[in-house]
Amino acid sequence: MARTAANGNLKPHLNQNGLKREDIKRNGYHNKREKDCPGTGVASRQHKQECFEQAPMYVAVMTYLGFGIVTLFGYFRDFLRAVGIEKCHLAQERQEQKDFVPLYQDFENFYTRNLYMRVRDNWNRPICSLPGPVFDVMERVSDDYNWTFRFTGKTLHNVINMGSYNYLGFAENNTDFLKTVADKISQYGVGVCSTRQEIGNLGIHEELEQLVATFLGVESSMTFGMGFATNSMNIPALVGKGCLILSDEVNHTSLILGARLSGATIRVFKHNNMHSLEKLLREAVCSGQPRTHRPWKKILIMVEGIYSMEGSLVRLPEIITLKKKYKAYLFLDEAHSIGAVGPTGRGVTELFNVNPVDVDVMMGTFTKSFGAAGGYIAGKKELVDYLRCQSHSAVYATSLSPPVTEQIIRAMKCIMGNNGSTEGIRRIRQLAENTRYFRARLKEMGFIIYGHEDSPVVPILLYMPGKVVAFAREMLERRIGVVVVGFPATPISEARARFCLSAAHTREMLNKVLHHLNEVGDLLCLKFSRRKHSSRPGLHDETELELSS
């Protein structure tokens, strides 16, 4: 457990009124009150809509107790394995290579062997239909406590899908809608077999790039074959040694990898905390590079539109003000927010009424709201021209597959309402409505949820490891597919279930999900919120029950 336990208790003391007062730090104890501050000023109004309630103290205690017990069990079982009483199911190194330096340190895999293995049936669940609002999950059972799985051959049909990033419902297989994509497969095949700079630059790539630029309201854009790789291959082209990157605490791995590969200095500011960011900016501009005190070549602020684990929105207007004051550059990763927020689906710039020209680098992916694959970077013409020459992807990596490109084009045209169709606007409105309804009902029921009111990513806090697992399994039995995340993707004491709403979800589906959530919430005592009328849940220790399985 690499993450420090101390951090878990303090997070997230988010300062809602970031620009105006100092952080309140309390050593060691939970602040039992909520962190919903009455803000003053226009910017804070947004953050009345964001809330990150703290759970009662006993929850944290139980969580750590649960982890502690499972860790002890883990040591015990390692001991049994070493002594030989328990069979070791792990794959072993070859006989011929036994005297090589071990490929994995024992401790590295402690977490995998002893914690993850017991409960890993909740992840990597294979499906055999399209990832729409309902899907078919392949049933798999384990005869040896999750070391190996076998498929029974049966499928669970029509499981409600609350886990796929299908915000606007473009994961569909309607033959009419997909006609142009099918045509492209017949015409082009699926591969490209070359890079953009050599002979892989197809006419439809250029068409897509112009469409993306029009969609976002910027001068020009460039597309890439993989969303993850868009970040990891282009950030090194933009910044290098002698530059400073200010990155949000909970940024995605691709942003962190891109920042590391660039060789620039990285400093982290607290999640969505403008005060922390301003402090770092001031210090950077005044003190310059560490030790030599030369001025920084560039400062790049990296933020995301919607943070996928927290469900929170970036505080865009305030960041733009800061960036203009300190002459920094802004890199906005709209992987989840493009298409999903904003009255016409243009993302956080539209939601906050910010001119897209103010954002220096707009990045996004096509995997989520457009139901395809790939990523883009958009901005001024100079930026995109430079990337055409210097991006690692343009020189060494294959370009987008033609049918995937066509899918993005048709989805984008649908959202933009070409040919006067209102399908796109209908989907966006449906998504917004679903989001509000779902979040309001969850709050009523008494769950703790994080994030902004408008964000279609809804994390429900579960905290205790046993409950996380029980929740996922219970929901699958009720034919609802949910995604649960724990350590290390989230802080150790804040495991959660993350719901991704879709425009394709109907009201009945949402009601069914809410009904089952209510039942499971009562069953597992997950209604930790102390806000409205929900009574305080009793002290049930679910952890003991789960361990015996």
Binding site: P126, C193, I199, F228, A373
Partner: protein
């Protein structure tokens, strides 16, 4: 007990009276010092000077950052891409002109194979386009599992894992195993994705001269001496050799049997990158291990992308379960990225079907490569870089003019000459400032199984004409 405690207290007080004066004074000073330290403010060494607010405001005013990107001149050679209208298959329409395609890595001609397209269409009807999620969160489809087991069967290994992008495959695989403090021996001609994987791993990198086993052995011997000096450290330092089967930059093959010997002699693991050799070398297309007859279990990890011979998108790693399973939790490009769209996976499965049904295509391809190689020998002013069975050759200038830019321009003029006459070639592209060992400028000539005798004849004569006309 109370009496015992009292007794101790009396002893203490007595000791206090009996102690020498200097002792008491010293203790008193120490106590005062401790109290002072407890109450003094801590300060960081480098903040011993403080700027006033006014100074800070001035600094903020004055500071001018560099522009986000340096300006790019309008006639930068990499700025204007060649536009391909229509599919990049055997006959390609590039910049409006129809040419025979000698530039796409479509080695087995599967790009416009009807069976592959049919399977992709069927998959589209069933699954739609995207998977809308990473593998861990309902992004695992039965197609992915089938593709992984088919690849493992094809390569005769225990397990395979697929990635959604070819570049990200080896770039995520290397840092999953090799961490800070580990040691990697890499060939100088390694491709860019390997270099990025090495950079992400933060390990010690040692380069050995291209295909030079003596240089590698020398480095390994030096490391062995180091290990003797510090056996404790050596026991936890993992060592890897990363090589490519068929190098993309130099079009030659790595000496795999000698590498395996070195592996066992010096206890180093081998990672083999087979993007260019998968589906090309070997009797059944299994790559360089089959080509040399090396036992595939001797190679710890084989990584390849499916964007060349397989004509799909994505990449895979295969090997023993002990090695491959680790990437399912620690391969960044696997865990944190959406999975491969099912129709691309279905296309790859069908391509594997075709490769398994008809193993003759590999020898036919190699025959054609040999033919082109021999035909291009003796081109005036150009020399071939590569081996006979490599499908992607490089043509470099025999005598460089001294400046890379003018070399590139010369080669570009040759490419354009050929394009005007209906033969599509391309310049091999590199990022000049990022490559560690920048290869010389060259023209890439790719041979596919669809090239007929006349096509090859035409291309060769085109190149020879271009060379004699433009290279004096």
């Amino acid at each position: 007990m109370a009496s015992g405690q009292q007794w101790v207290l009396v002893e203490m007080v007595q000791a206090f009276y009996e102690a020498p004066a200097y002792h008491l004074i010293l203790e008193g000073i120490l106590i005062l010092w401790i109290i002072r330290l407890l109450f003094s403010k801590t300060y960081r060494l480098h903040e011993t000077y403080k700027l006033t607010e006014k100074e800070k405001e001035d600094l903020i005013e004055e500071w001018q950052p560099e522009p986000l990107v340096p300006p790019v001149s309008k006639d930068h050679p990499s700025l204007n891409y060649d536009v391909v209208t229509g599919p990049p298959s055997h006959k390609i329409i590039i910049n409006g002109k129809e040419c025979i395609n000698f530039a796409s890595f479509n080695f087995l001609g599967l790009l416009d194979n009807e069976r592959v397209k049919e399977k992709a269409l069927a998959s589209l009807k069933k699954y739609g386009v995207g998977t809308c999620g990473p593998r861990g969160f309902y992004g695992t489809f039965d197609v992915h599992l089938e593709l992984e087991s088919r690849l493992a069967n094809f390569m005769k290994t225990e397990e395979a894992i697929i990635y959604s992008y070819g570049f990200a495959t080896i770039a995520s695989a290397i840092p999953a195993y090799s961490k800070r403090g580990d040691l990697i021996f890499v060939d100088e001609a390694a491709c860019f994705s390997i270099q990025k994987g090495l950079q992400a791993s933060r390990s010690f990198i040692k380069y050995f001269k291209h295909n030079d086993m003596e240089d590698l052995e020398r480095l390994l011997k030096e490391q062995e001496l180091e290990d003797h000096k510090n056996p404790r450290k050596a026991r936890v330092t993992r060592k890897f050799i990363v090589v490519e089967g068929l190098y993309i930059n130099t079009a030659d093959i790595c000496p795999l049997p000698q590498l395996v010997k070195l592996k066992y002699k010096y206890k180093v693991r081998i990672f083999l990158e087979e993007s260019m050799s998968f589906g090309v070398l070997g009797e059944h297309g299994r790559g360089v291990t089959e080509h040399f007859g090396v036992n595939i279990d001797d190679i710890d990890l084989i990584s390849a992308n499916m964007e060349n011979a397989v004509a799909s998108i994505g990449g895979f790693c295969c090997g023993r379960s002990f090695v491959i399973d680790h990437q399912r939790l620690s391969g960044q490009g696997y865990c944190f990225s959406a999975s491969l769209p099912p129709m691309l996976a279905a296309a790859a499965i069908e391509a594997l079907n075709i490769m398994e049904e008809d193993p003759d295509i590999f020898s036919v391809l190699r025959e054609k490569c040999k033919h082109v190689y021999n035909a291009l020998q003796g081109t005036p002013g150009l020399k071939i870089v590569g081996v006979q069975c490599a499908p992607a050759l490089h043509l470099q200038l025999e005598r460089s003019s001294g400046s890379r830019d003018s070399d590139m321009q010369l080669l570009r003029s040759i490419v354009e000459y050929c394009m005007e006459r209906g033969v599509a070639l391309t310049l091999a592209r590199y990022l000049e400032k990022e490559e560690r060992f920048l290869p010389s400028p060259s023209v890439r000539v790719v041979v596919t199984i669809e090239h007929t005798e006349e096509d090859i004849q035409k291309a060769v004569s085109c190149v020879q004409e271009a060379a004699s006309a433009l290279l004096k």
